[in-house]
Symmetry: none
Subunit: 129 residues, 4 copies
């Protein structure tokens, strides 16, 4: 269900957080869906259960999932907050990139061309999100 890059420098727990959020926004993880248990996911990914627990804790704190002690972890009812937060973060990143490009000698038209080329060709899977 999840794919982990064990050689990446981004923390393992962060990779899980990112993937849950991405899958939720893509529609592959619908609202109210139950997530795998900490121990089973740890087993599946060959990770320390603490790492999974940390990821789930982070997701809960962000409101992406909620935890029912004794029953498991479930995705929230809706992802509008998540989507909005992510788009805001995105805008900030693009703003930074644009400024950095300008500093490195990029012209506005080159920037526009770069942005056009970067849009992914194949549409992202999406259903019911």
């Amino acid at each position: 269900m999840f794919t982990i890059d064990y050689k990446s420098r981004t923390p393992l727990y962060q990779q899980i957080v990112d993937q849950v959020e991405r899958l939720a926004l893509c529609g592959l993880l619908p609202p109210e869906e139950q997530l795998p248990s900490v121990r089973s996911l740890a087993m599946e990914l060959s990770l320390n259960p603490n790492t999974i627990a940390k990821a789930y804790g982070e997701l809960e704190q962000r409101g992406v999932i909620y935890s029912l002690p004794g029953r498991g972890n479930f995705l929230s009812a809706d992802f509008t907050g998540l989507r909005q937060a992510r788009l805001e973060r995105l805008a900030e990143r693009v703003r930074l990139a644009a400024r950095e490009g300008a500093e490195a000698g990029l012209t506005e038209s080159q920037w526009q061309e770069l942005c056009s080329q970067c849009w992914p060709n194949q549409p992202i899977h999406k259903e019911g999100a």
Copy 2:
């Protein structure tokens, strides 16, 4: 000459590296210019000399500056390599951002609009770089 955010989570030495590169690309730090000495900059920024030395070492390994022991640190003769590397990194970041936006439900026209708005209004200072 440099401004440090002591509360940021990005390492202090990294902030210095970033700023030197930015100032070099902007043209505010011309090629062959001498940088402040390790000790004087440490004093000015209230940092430990080791932190400055680490930043300068990093810049040297990237080819942005060169160090002459006993004489000082100097900006390289040209920044074309730096500029090119930065633009490549930039493209990769924009590509990632576009993909993430698509996943979060952004349409291509919204993406284009976002990119247009993000271009900095005031041109970046630039001379002789």
Copy 3:
């Protein structure tokens, strides 16, 4: 695992860098092998952990190893880049030596003789590198 000459004028961290590279090229340190931890190696060699960290950092920037914070330092997947860089450096050094010899009165045949004699008699250990 490593041997340090504490009286040498070559920096301690550099000696470690050299040895890791040599062992990697010899095949004694296979790709993806985990290196001793910073602290344990520091203990073993009676050095400060910072010195080991500096050596590992240098190796990482050269692409010989990669570091996974919280997990350890690991040798890269392949050493072709390292091997190539080393052979290029080697050629340059031999070129310099030949020129210096010529200046000191060496004839070409004496040079060839010298080079023949300098080839190590016992082959270098090598397996799977």
Copy 4:
């Protein structure tokens, strides 16, 4: 008379030492020749007189030149010791290079070919040495 690479990492005084030795072995600086005075050479090369003095001191200690206080610095009567020392150092360097090449996967025949190619094409200027 001398050429200094101000951007080289080899110490300035060392560059002077090397050049005097090289010019002596080439025959461009004959035995008993007088060297420029510390101050005039410092002026000519835009260096600190201390740097020249250090170079001359090193040369004197090695027996390449001798100093007559109040009269100047003069090249020694013969350079056989210098030539021998340099050839010994050279052999050691070639031995190291060969070993390093072997470790990096070079075969003996490749080594021989490398050495052949590295011999300088144009003969070194030489007269009366």
